[in-house]
Symmetry: C2
């Protein structure tokens, strides 16, 4: 088992000071101490080191009517640039961030989901990155690293796409392929882990250390954090709530099993539900899944009765499936994310809040919250940038306490 | 968030040395160092302290053909006695252990499940403890403490039975009631947490840090450990796998929800399955659940076709429900326990092993093990004794890294 040392503790404190500044924005030493629980003396010492290292800079100096002036500290946003990339079956979405994880520019490339050649996908990723770099006016040599979320099962420690069902990829060394093409350090992970990390850093992680971040889109799944630690499982495969049962021997799921949650709550599941209600409904003629979801949202505004029934059934399925998560894990907070959530939250969330108590054991109900995520932008890209930053800070000797697997190689220092 | 200090690290090391001795039995300093990953110098220092404190003693001194003699160390079993008590709806089972958690004597009292008066239940617990103390010839003043597992939802930090559905108990201060009657420090927890801890200490915890310990009895549930930490949830309510869905809107569960795993895999669920197959089967006339399970086991030996079909359906339900646990948590090891397991393991486990791959995502399948627990005796009583010992060691300044909630009060030192 990995052993923790006094040096790890000091590094954790350093990490927490930086993390507090990401969370709070420009802050005084007192505010950092209060937020982290560290002593003001410890914070003062660490801040002095960070200033000397150029990691932090003084944002403002303020003068109260009494007392001495106090300084607000900030992470130096000019220290480097970080890429966060969300690779899905139908698109690549790349964003350039500064080291405070503020977005600077964005690039998107469509992928043909029937094309499974690795070079085709790598080309798409490279083009999206180039577009984002161009849009943000970033100098390549200032890029610290790129975090790339790949669909399917990923081994971040090996940089490998272990299995991507849509492309039938097995053990593709995607990190190496991308690094050769880009000349940038790359970190790969799974989108469920990325959305969970973005929520831990920039969403409800500010108020709770335990949460499930439930993604509703083509696929469905949950990123889970318990007491501030991301649940990875023994092969980085935890969180496949979309492939837990809603209905034994029920609808065929694309994973091969029958009755999975995803077969009811993934977009194709919604299409199947609507086909049960109104097989000739015009929304079912939309060629793309996003078009279908948008048509459902528009029809709900117009009180289309078949779509109202679809929303009712979908809320019932969602409340039941979230009840399972809560009963098993006794987590206090569920955040919904993904593009189905973005389109249908106004219909799903109130109905789920109303029905959820019927599915949750009394002891796990008090304080239970269900909300749509408020993390801005693409949470997968943001989470991948946060992983890349965590690894970079780790390479500076700042151990991340919770989320990042051990660094595999040194990232390039920014120019 | 709780902060870890250098002192905590030293205490963790002390705890690990003791834990290694529980796991390994009498051991040399070299064996302890190898098992814990601590340096031999650190182990030597800690052992010297423990010997001076009387916590350890030298078990044997051996002489190799070459080199100097070496000592095997052991925890001094005479240092005190610990009680572990399993309180269920129909019985109380109490065991006296020495501080190496070796059993010394046992007492059992039947409870009428229709009697829900707190005094009736407390009397039953006291009588079972008295029988165990008597059977083991224990002097009362040597008892360090008693760990009492209570059915339903328990708050160990407050010593309260928050909700016991069978008795309709709400917020019963059971720890205080028992301490007043017994004059012994009492620690209360939930049976799922206890079986998980007993497995972590004495079962597969010797080879893996992440596991689900699945209890099959009147009720069903899972004690879950992730990376050596017991999953408690925000209200100590995690692990209610028995109240996750197998079948949306399916069989009525005693929790009020429909279609829960327990409604298919609890003993009453097995009875319902058999009633679907052969409504007049003689096993259904058994007045007690244990009689029913024993009749099923006997009938299976005789190849009773209705019972063979019951075993087939039950294995299908169990494989599906375990698949959910694995897909969500990506845990590498499942241990089955409880008295249904004890009676039917020979039929259920081979069938579950065969079907489980149909329910598990490919990435979570390699290395996945499903086994019957090999922890001897009553694992709930043993786990509760282990919690009590962990708290006692914590009061000695030996922080437990994983399982025990913060100590609430000082346990009485042994005489
Ligand atoms: Zn599936
Ligand atoms: Zn139930």
């Amino acid at each position: 088992m990995p052993r923790q040392t006094s040096r790890d503790l000091r590094n954790e404190s350093r990490f927490e000071v930086l993390h507090a500044l990401f969370t709070l924005g420009p802050s005084t030493r007192q505010e950092i101490a209060k937020h982290t629980g560290l002593s003001t003396a410890t914070v003062a010492t660490l801040v002095t080191q960070f200033l000397a290292e150029g990691v932090l800079r003084i944002a403002t100096v303020e003068q109260n009517t009494v007392g001495r002036p106090y300084e607000r500290l900030t992470i130096d946003p000019d220290r480097g640039r970080i890429l966060g990339i969300d690779v899905a079956e139908t698109y690549v979405d790349a964003t350039v961030y500064d080291v405070t994880l503020g977005p600077l520019g964005h690039g998107e490339v469509a992928l043909d989901e029937h094309e499974n050649d690795t070079e085709y996908v790598v080309n798409g990723i490279v083009r999206a990155i180039e577009a984002a770099v161009e849009a943000s006016g970033t100098e390549r040599e200032r890029i610290i690293g790129a975090g790339v979320s790949m669909p399917g099962q990923v081994r971040p420690d090996a940089g490998v796409s272990v299995f991507a069902p849509n492309w039938d990829w097995h053990d593709v060394r995607i990190e190496e392929l991308l690094e050769q093409r880009l000349g940038i350090s790359v970190y790969v992970d799974n989108p469920l882990k990325a959305v969970a990390l973005s929520e831990m850093w920039f969403g409800v992680g500010r108020v709770t250390k335990s949460m499930a971040v439930v993604n509703l889109g083509t696929g469905v799944g949950a990123g889970i954090a318990i007491d501030g630690t991301l649940l990875r499982g023994s092969a980085n495969n935890a969180g496949e709530w979309g492939h837990t049962l809603l209905q034994l021997d029920g609808r065929q799921c694309r994973c091969g099993r029958r009755g999975c949650v995803e077969a009811y709550l993934g977009v194709h599941g919604l299409e199947m539900s609507l086909a049960e209600i109104a097989p000739k409904h015009p929304a079912l003629r939309q060629p793309l899944q996003r078009g279908f979801v948008d048509a459902v949202a528009e029809g709900l505004v117009a009180d289309d009765p078949a779509l109202v029934e679809l929303a009712r059934r979908t809320s019932h399925y969602l409340a039941a499936a979230l009840g399972d998560l809560v009963n098993l894990l006794n987590i206090p907070h569920i955040t919904l994310t993904g593009w189905t959530t973005a389109a249908l939250a106004d219909w799903l969330i109130p109905a789920v809040r109303e029905e959820l108590p019927d599915h949750v054991l009394p002891g796990s109900l008090p304080g239970l919250a269900v909300e749509a995520s408020r993390v801005p932008g693409n949470p997968v890209a943001l989470g991948m940038a946060a992983f890349t930053l965590e690894r970079f800070l780790g390479d500076l000797g700042l151990a991340s306490p919770a989320s990042t697997p051990p660094p595999r190689r040194r990232l390039r220092a920014p120019a």
